[in-house]
């Protein structure tokens, strides 16, 4: 999605999802796999986080934090609550099911029967358009199978597009649980650790016990203290 005016919360949401489903190498993965490959592995072997026991607001929260480290998405609390409310209760049931179905297809084993399972990356976007149902829809008409495209670099990708038929801002949701309550059976998604400012801190060696030795001042450290420079 390219838009003329940046919309902060929209961009944060799409970017977090795009990164989680991208072919960028996941820096926290010891095997050097892509974000999408790591997520597929998690989904297939550890936790089906798209089944009916999992809630989409919680799933989004976990996916987003697995790429930001600890920051919530969107950063603005009001926008975040509005977004969580949309995922938890505003979206019609067929849209929620289509989201589960399309993402499941992308994360399950790929092959001739399921080309989405082999795509290199996924793009998430929103579009305002009149829909047949007159409300939200997941492109195309809440279908369960995402369309597979090929980009200019011969990479395959899926576009997951939430279509919105409503011409109104998302309603405020001041009482929306934030963060969403945990779902049963959650296993930890690999989380990228945020790099510390100023690089990696090394552990300082333990201080030697004072034996009454006098500190010797070198010429260099003396110059440093007095602010002299050569």
């Amino acid at each position: 999605m390219g838009s003329f005016i940046n919309s902060q919360a929209d961009n944060e949401i799409c970017e977090a999802l795009n990164k989680r489903f991208s072919d960028n190498v996941d820096p926290s993965d010891s095997q050097g796999r892509t974000y999408l490959a790591v997520l597929r592995d998690h989904f297939r072997n550890r936790e089906n986080f798209l089944d009916r026991t999992h809630h989409l607001n919680r799933v989004f929260h976990r996916l987003a934090r697995s790429v930001t480290g600890s920051a919530n998405v969107p950063r603005a609390r009001d926008s975040r609550r509005r977004w969580f409310a949309l995922l938890r209760r505003t979206l019609p049931a067929p849209v929620m099911q289509a989201i589960r179905d399309q993402l499941t297809a992308i994360l399950t084993q790929g092959g001739a029967a399921n080309p989405a399972g082999s795509v290199n990356y996924v793009i998430f976007s929103t579009q305002h358009v009149s829909t047949r149902s007159g409300t939200f829809e997941l492109f195309d008409q809440n279908g369960a199978v995402p369309q597979v495209h090929t980009d200019a670099n011969r990479k395959t990708y899926c576009a997951v597009v939430l279509q919105c038929n409503v011409d109104a801002p998302l309603p405020d949701a001041p009482n929306e649980p934030d963060p969403p309550a945990a779902d049963p059976g959650e296993t930890t998604l690999a989380v990228r650790k945020r790099p510390r400012k100023g690089g990696k801190k090394t552990k300082k060696p333990a201080k030697k016990s004072s034996t009454g030795k006098k500190k010797t001042t070198t010429r260099k450290s003396k110059a440093k203290k007095t602010g002299k420079r050569k």
């Binding site: 999605m1 005016i5 940046n6 902060q8 970017e15 949309l86 579009q127 009149s130 980009d151």
Partner: protein, 190 residues
């Protein structure tokens, strides 16, 4: 687009009464003639103040929403620049958007709009774009929604990206000769 600003009903009504729809029809005719491979859509029923480039089902879409199309502070030049920018997302080469790698990044789209895009439009349709007028119109619309400081971007001054704040973007649009980076767009929200 779920969190975009909306144009008031009153403003939209005034624009419709002022024959804005005639202006928009002419604009889209010229763009369709110049860029026949793209699909241009006018969504006047949606009051979002924005426009969008999107690849969907093998179609290259450019959508102008009602909030921008009917905005009382925008005239022909401002709208032409906006649509050229969206076309630039599809047709510009170089740096890709982090949000959608199938599209050019913001700077590449801007630069393409005011160089190649503008030239193509003039050649095929005689429609000219007065850059200073366009930028002045956009001052009132984009400026308040795209503040200067780091709200929209992570600081990465070395990349040369100008799309983070309206003042830097405005300067780059007017200068035209400043080409964008080939890679490493700094627009990043997470």
């Amino acid at each position: 687009m779920l969190f975009c600003d909306h144009l008031s009903h009153q403003e939209a009504l005034e624009a419709k009464q002022a024959n804005r729809e005639g202006l928009l029809a002419g604009l889209l005719t010229d763009f369709r003639k110049t860029f026949p491979d793209l699909t241009f859509e006018l969504q006047l029923d949606f009051s979002i103040i924005n426009a969008q480039a999107l690849r969907l089902a093998n179609r290259q879409l450019v959508t102008i929403y009602g909030g921008l199309a009917l905005h009382p502070r925008l005239g022909s030049d401002g709208l032409t620049l906006i649509v050229l920018h969206e076309v630039g997302h599809h047709l510009a080469e170089g740096c890709r958007s982090k949000r959608d790698p199938s599209l050019a990044c913001e700077c590449a789209a801007d630069h393409w709009a005011v160089t190649t895009g503008m030239a193509n439009l003039r050649m095929r349709t005689d429609r000219s774009l007065h850059m200073r007028v366009a930028v002045e119109e956009l001052d009132a619309v984009v400026g308040p929604r795209q503040p200067t400081k780091g709200k929209y971007t992570k600081g990465n001054k070395s990349s040369g990206c100008w799309a983070g704040g309206w003042p830097s973007r405005r300067s780059a649009l007017l200068a035209r000769d400043r080409s964008p980076q080939r890679a490493g767009c700094c627009i990043s929200n997470i």
